[in-house]
Subunit: 110 residues, 2 copies
DNA sequence: AGCCTGTTTTGACGTCTGTCAAGCTAGAGA
DNA sequence: TCTCTAGCTTGACAGACGTCAAAACAGGCT
């Protein structure tokens, strides 16, 4: 089934789609996408370093982080005064498997 | 930059995020995600074959297809009576590059 | 021309979402 | 215990979203 299609994507039933769509949805907001990329670029990141990167209130950032957390994309842990966020790699792998393509060879073009 | 992070993701500026988020957003609805996977599983697909797979009105399916089209994820072409939809592989490549992971080697687990 | 089928557009409606201000909770330190 | 800082929760509000019915548009057929 993956031999002829332009992409190695298999049709999805309603249940599968309902399970995975929330992850895409969570990444579908520019602020959350940036948050995600910031967190994913390092082993872990403190909220105190994320918030000042945006022209948004603390509560708003907190809200977006909650959405990412509930989508299963990140984990958070309080250590003393600060809260640290970390990517859940298995979530990324799930998404990547969906877009199952020769990504490693394709140039990260525009 | 990709050597140490758990994921080969680079932090994104606001502009980049604003350009890419709409693609994720488009895939963030279960109906559209299924539509996308159906279209991507074959070279091209007729609306007349997509619509009956859902418990939704024709206009609603048409609306979702339009969202996918405007996000740059699919192309449509009218041929005679029917309209055919096809995936735009470069869009998928863009998303895949973001989730830049060893997708080809990683098992398509749960 | 007129009609029939397939698809998109328009208009309307209820729900969901992103945002902020205000208030609350958790931990550190005096 | 009191206070200060970091972060989260709540409540409210404007705007966006998913859906459908009705109407419009496009092609084929008679």
């Amino acid at each position: 089934m993956a031999c002829c299609a332009p992409l190695a994507v298999r049709p999805m039933d309603a249940e599968q789609a309902a399970g995975i769509a929330p992850m895409f949805k969570a990444l579908g907001d520019p602020v959350r996408l940036r948050l995600m990329s910031m967190i994913a670029s390092v082993p872990e990141m403190c909220v105190c370093d994320l918030t000042p990167a945006f022209d948004l209130s603390g509560p708003t950032i907190s809200h977006h982080l909650k959405v990412l957390r509930e989508a299963g994309l990140v984990d958070s842990e309080r250590r003393g005064t600060w809260v640290w966020y970390r990517v859940r790699p298995e979530a990324f792998r799930r998404l990547g498997a969906l877009l199952d393509l020769p990504a490693t060879t394709a140039p990260a073009d525009a």
